[in-house]
């Protein structure tokens, strides 16, 4: 129901029209967005064309596209992108499988369903820093419970350069699968029951029911989860930064942090931030295209 100001209202009496009131509500938000989002975005775009260090008193020098050229020809940066891509693939892939699997399990009548769902949601409500430190202990070769359970002896998860990235990804899967589970549950509960009844009458196999009924109908919500988790995956900093300092776990966000706040290469770090932004936007656009196709079906 829309409440409209009638002619005798106090606002009108003071001379405030509907339009003015609307603008009064919108303007602070727009001002906030301009000051804290749009202005820094444009400002940092400008800096990306300069050789500039915010921590020095040296005048910024216009270098055109040099920062972008340097970054894109730096094998270390490409290595960071490769590591990030690998991480996103493993971590988001794992979250989709585990999250959707959990949702399928919970989408059936089981005792204490609400309580179990709440428990499963707990990891994503915790701070990434706490989870990172907590999993560091779990992975510890000396007293970690993971090596104890799987009888792995002194296996050093976070010190082994070939394994460390996967160890961090496993932690991320543990933390964020519940998010995928939540969206999948919402999708699953919206699938009409009669479709399953019809499939049962036709003696359709479980696989057929999953691939022809469940997945196509849940796909739009799964794609939304995929978009969110991919974007977050590309931005991952906290978990990897806390858990490991291996070059093989140096995600692009960590490289960006080092460039900006350890080496104070402000111009170059702005350029790198834009490269990451463009990549994330491109990937998101591909997903959105598929999302629209899925919705249209």
């Amino acid at each position: 129901m829309i409440t409209r100001l009638d002619a005798g209202s106090a606002a009108v009496a003071r001379g405030l029209s509907d339009l003015t009131i609307r603008n009064l509500f919108i303007l602070p938000t727009i001002a906030f967005l301009i000051v804290f989002n749009i202005f820094p975005l444009i400002y940092s775009l400008g800096y990306s064309f300069y050789s500039y260090s915010a921590s020095s008193n040296v005048e910024a020098l216009f270098v055109g596209l040099q920062n972008y050229r340097d970054l894109l020809s730096d094998p270390n940066v490409w290595n960071n992108f490769t590591v990030t891509a690998k991480y996103v693939l493993v971590s988001v892939g794992g979250q989709m499988i585990v999250g959707f699997g959990l949702a399928l399990l919970l989408n059936r009548p089981i005792p204490f369903k609400g309580f179990i769902t709440t428990l499963l949601l707990l990891p994503m409500m915790m701070s990434a820093a706490v989870i990172g430190l907590f999993w560091q202990l779990l992975y510890s070769p000396s007293w970690g419970v993971i090596n104890y359970i799987f009888n792995l002896g002194d296996f050093a998860w976070l010190s082994d350069p070939d394994v460390a990235l996967y160890a961090v990804a496993i932690t991320d899967i543990w933390m964020w699968s519940p998010f995928v589970m939540l969206l999948s549950l919402a999708g699953l509960s919206a699938v009409p029951k009669y479709l399953y009844e019809a499939a049962a009458i036709d003696r359709a196999s479980a696989w057929y029911t999953l691939t022809r009924i469940t997945l196509p109908l849940v796909a739009p919500l799964l794609l939304i989860a995929l978009i969110f988790r991919t974007m977050e995956g590309f931005k991952t900093f906290d978990l990897a930064f806390i858990m490991s300092t291996q070059p093989t776990t140096e995600l692009i966000a960590i490289r960006l942090y080092k460039l900006a706040f350890q080496e104070w290469q402000t111009g170059e770090s702005c350029a790198l931030a834009y490269i990451v932004l463009i990549m994330v936007l491109a990937i998101t656009n591909i997903y959105v295209k598929y999302l629209n196709q899925a919705k249209a079906r």
Binding site: S55, N57, S142, A156, S159, D162, T245, P247, W264
Partner: protein
Amino acid sequence: MARTAGRTLVSLIAGVALTSAFAARAVAEELTIFWAEWDPANYLQELVNDYTKQTGVKVTVETTPWSDFQTKTFREFAAKGGTYDMVVGDSQWLGAGSTEGHYVDLTEFFKKNNLDKLMLPATVAGYAEYPPGSKKYWAIPLEGDANGWAYRKDWFEDPKEKAAFKAKYGYELGVPQDYKQLRDIAEFFHRPDQKRYGVAIYTDNSYDAIAMGVEQTIFSYGGDLGNYSTYKVAGLVNSKEAIEGLKAYRELYKFTPPGWGKVFFLEDNQAITEGLAAMSMNFFAFFPALANPATNPHAKDTGFFANPKGPTGAHFAALGGQGVSIISYSKKRDASMKFLEWFIKDETQKKWAELGGYTCSTAVLKSDAFRKATPYNEAFYQSMLMVKDFWATPEYAELLTQMNQRLYPYIVGDKGTAEEALNGLATDWENTFKKYHRYK
């Protein structure tokens, strides 16, 4: 009525004026020193309380965790903020601090007070002078520090262990005199089946931990990180000696406790307190915890020694520690200068050493009282006579990142060879110096 109102107004104005005057006085009489969060910062706070008693000027030592120290300091520099009046900055920051205008030039102060004679030469070169050899000074050496070693005396002195060691290696088990002995002892005590390990070394590559451990090994093997005056690195950082030094560090890593791939001072002290390792590398500033029975159950059995010699007799230790600089954006530079005048006095330096601070005053350091004050002071003194530092150029952070990226996979991940790692590092550093137009 009007008269009463008038009086009230006058009283109010007078009150406000008085309050403002007091507030201004209070502000003028407060100094803030920024440092990392560790025991020496607590000792410094205790020391400066004396200054407050003597002068009425309140001095606060504000701290932040080590992991955040560099970032937070340079963020403050970037903002040209006046939050801190002085910073006890890392030796590597000298280049950036001086050439980028963050530090006040203390050359006159240094000369007037003869500090180049009063302070240990290595600390003057390491914490105060930039560029090297220029006789321009930007800090007062405050906390001397070097990388040394702690060891389990009871393990070393056990007659059975001594006999077994002699039978295996052909010489007496004792404090290692060179890197070969260090390696042998690490190997000898490395018994994973007994949850006992040979050695604990730095491996964390998020800032300068692994670099400090490696550089002192390279220096002691006769290698170098480059020529700090000409910026020449090719043939120096990847010299035969440097390669051998890196190999030696990699060799030591084999005898560390499991999962020792990301450790710094905390874990290296834990290696001793938890009875994990026979020897542990650490900066001397972290050793008070090992000599204290309240924090180390093996305190009475813990000994200390300076970094041993390399195969050619070269003998170095990585320089830690910091100097105190006046931040050029501070509005209380004169008051800070007065504080420094008080800090360099002999009696202040003595008190600083008594509280647990590592004074850089030559007279205090050389005194028997200091050298016998703790079980580690003698080793500290010996180390301070042979310290050598990392690059202190403004671009040091980039050099550090590149060193971490090149060496860590070889040491911890066993990827590639020492030669490949150091050749790669020489190329990286050369490119960085070219970028900053260091070659004329």
